[in-house]
């Protein structure tokens, strides 16, 4: 049976790198979008407080909301990261499966 483990491992690593780099832009663009929205929210919050359109109590309460929103956004990024990891793991498994299939076909 002709099965080159080193070559297969190198190909698996290549598949993982390819899957991660294909999707990395998704994490970056989402993180940038979250940062831009945070800037917009905090500008509005400061403007409303300085203009006395909201009370100090509401200002502090909204800062608590900001913490919860950060948590929600980090959960969203975690899903993107897991999806990328899933693509990478399955790409590596595909490479291994194909290499084993090819070796089996040659042997039978």
């Amino acid at each position: 049976m002709n099965f080159d483990l080193n070559e297969t491992l190198a190909n698996m690593l290549g598949a993982i790198k390819g899957a991660v780099s294909d999707n990395w832009g998704e994490v970056k663009s989402t993180a940038n979008q979250f940062i831009d929205r945070r800037k917009e929210r905090l500008e509005l919050l400061a403007e409303l407080r300085l203009g006395q359109e909201i009370t100090q109590e509401k200002f502090l309460s909204t800062l608590e909301d900001e913490k919860d929103l950060l948590e929600a956004e980090l959960h969203a990024i975690a899903i993107i990261s897991k999806a990328i990891a899933q693509n990478a793991a399955n790409a590596a498994i595909d490479v291994l499966s194909k290499a084993v299939k090819a070796a089996l076909s040659a042997a039978l």
Partner: protein, 154 residues
Amino acid sequence: MKQLIRHSSHLILVLMMLGCKVQFVPEYNAEIAKQIDATSKMVDKMYLEMLETTTPEQRDFSKFAKAYVSVEVELNSLLNKNKIRPLNEHSIKITELTLAKWIKYKEEHKRDFENDGKYASGNIKINRIYIRDFFNAMIVAENATKIIKQEQNQ
């Protein structure tokens, strides 16, 4: 004989691996994505109408209670749908945070109007932006599952 059994078990393992795929996130659910979008629009409409068509003194909570409840019902429904999906702990948490925030804003409106006889436009402006971004986190989370390569789902 022992060698034959060992080789057979290796072969079975290899054959099992040929069909093996890992899954870390749930599959994309278009119905949930649509419901998030529709609920987000309900919230935006409610806040914009409140801002544009009423003065702070006209914002009696009872006039808006029905709209608050309608959104809360949709968020509860989204939470229940997310809870029955496997591998979905992140979306469940985001939906729980969004629902808690919505209830907080509802209670704030009720309390402020009872105490002061008005509900400030500043509160509406800031709550609208925060709740919009909680919904955005929900939709980003749902759309993230679209990243999964299609051939992996087959």
